[in-house]
Symmetry: C2
Subunit: 324 residues, 2 copies
């Protein structure tokens, strides 16, 4: 047993599932005759866009916050994110009666500020030209004794995200292949751990934007690679690198990581909206893009595909789809 195994175990993912029971949605698994025909396989979409707050991030957030000490729960938590993690933390805090503070750049889309405030978090804006979010978050956390809940590199976050694959396997059973999007690696770490435990023969492939291919390079070089402000539409995969905890887990449990182009992401988004009739965000369709664009082929296989989230600014749609 390595030191890594002590940080997170299969039992932690099962315990997270128990904590989330009746709190997180057991999201639906959708199928599509058209997708099966195109890919010559049986495809099962695990739809975390239907999760509370619109993404899988709620799972890890709630799993983390519910394990804080009573005194820490009273003091509250802080996170820095302008995206889905912030909303997950905000709602988890509201449900657990824990004060939440979210640090966001002043230029974050109004819709995300509103959503995060709507779930009950205090949003603190900063000017990214004057201070980094880490500096501000650290000083705020120390000043008010708030615990920082990181977006992915934490055992409780990883265990929570792993419940996504656990539910999929509980519902579908055997799978030959699981495709998961990859940003900081929280989702794919947890999902690959539990999948390899339950279905040792199931291959796991991570998918990230070609414009933000740090995880692919890290995976192949076995050395943590970093990408700076990648120009990808998949905002959830703009994280600079895998984490100290997620990277070794990815190396151990993931079979391959592939990349998809920006055009492939947008085409897949349009396809998913039109054919599956669900709203998925760019990061949310990364895994589907690898399959539908033929980057990954596995005819005859039973394939799980995680749709990770559905938070997209509908006001900017035309701009988005006009890029195809």
């Amino acid at each position: 047993m390595t030191s890594r195994d002590k940080l997170i175990r299969i039992a932690d993912i099962r315990a997270a599932a128990k904590r989330l029971e009746g709190i997180a949605h057991r999201t639906p698994v959708l199928t599509s005759t058209t997708v099966n025909q195109i890919t010559k396989s049986q495809v099962f979409f695990k739809c975390e866009n239907f999760q509370r707050t619109g993404s899988f991030k709620f799972r890890g957030a709630y799993n983390s916050l519910s394990q804080l000490s009573e005194s820490q729960k009273q003091k509250g938590v802080l996170t820095f994110s302008s995206g889905n993690h912030a909303q997950g933390i905000a709602l988890a805090g509201k449900l657990l009666n824990i004060p939440t503070t979210v640090v966001m750049p002043a230029n974050a889309p109004a819709v995300k500020q509103t959503a995060t405030r709507g779930y009950g978090a205090q949003v603190i804006l900063y000017n990214p030209k004057e201070i980094t979010r880490e500096e501000l978050a650290l000083s705020l956390a120390q000043e008010k004794d708030l615990k920082i809940i990181p977006p992915f590199d934490h055992p409780h976050i990883i265990a929570g995200q792993g419940t996504t694959a656990l539910e999929l396997i509980q519902e579908i059973g055997e799978l030959d292949l699981l495709l998961v999007c990859c940003g900081g690696g929280g989702l794919i770490s947890g999902c690959s751990m539990i999948t390899k435990a339950l279905l040792p023969n199931c291959r796991i492939i991570g998918v990230e934007p070609a414009q933000a291919d740090d995880a692919t390079r890290s995976f192949y070089s076995k050395t943590l690679q970093i990408v700076h402000n990648p120009d990808t539409i998949a905002d959830g995969a703009r994280t600079p690198s895998l984490g100290k905890i997620t990277f070794p887990l990815v190396l151990e449990y993931v079979d391959d990581i592939v990349t998809v182009s920006e055009q492939a992401i947008i085409r897949t988004m349009l396809f998913i909206w039109q054919r599956l009739k669900i709203v998925a965000e760019p990061t949310g369709v990364l895994a589907a893009a690898a399959l539908l664009e033929g980057v990954v082929k596995n005819p005859g296989a039973k394939i799980g595909v995680i749709i990770s989230g559905g938070n997209v600014d509908l006001a900017n749609l035309e701009k988005l789809f006009s890029q195809i």
Copy 2:
């Protein structure tokens, strides 16, 4: 027992459900904490946008085509529609190995022509300035001995559409109120019949666009009213009037019909996409609009809302949402 009762019976809806088993999707029923909070009620969305071909129309189409005589099945069928009924007929024909012909105006959106051809129908285009679709359809049907399958005013169509409410009630049980969109009345006729049979105390309210309020006027005047080329975004409700069969059924089984504005339809569509993360078309959100815009209020009630379809041209989205 009136003569009407002989045209369609509860047993016909149950028989349709049997025919559709394993062929049509048992579409999911979605709920939303936000919607429940806003409406102070328990709302269950029956999501026919997830039905095959993207709308409930497949139910009636398949139920009709599967009951044709063997000789008629060999000769084939014809319909005139540029919308969801055409796609339903095309796929039902493909599955049952029945040749299908669809008459469409030459200016119908390319995406609808493509979809209908994609499901295997022969599409015949006409110039609406030179000939009416009825004239062309009749002459084609006679020439080739094709049976015309009307979009709503037929017992087999109505029975098929009624299976939507049957499934909802089988899944959810008691309901105090059911909201259903209303165009030609095929969906609401079948759904109200079966609902009143299973849940006699459940109120049924039809919803149509204020710009195409013929059913509302027909309902209140008890005389069939007609609307000409109504200017509504809800293209499924642009039918000129209820039918000879659907009108008396609506009078007998529906408790009220209300209207919603174009703005209400668009706002609701945006809300449904953003919060439920599903793609619903304008006609598909009519019933939801009545509830979310407060036209119908029923705090404390268990409310079924049918989302009838999800076929929307994503290329025109910006135009759509910019109208809010």
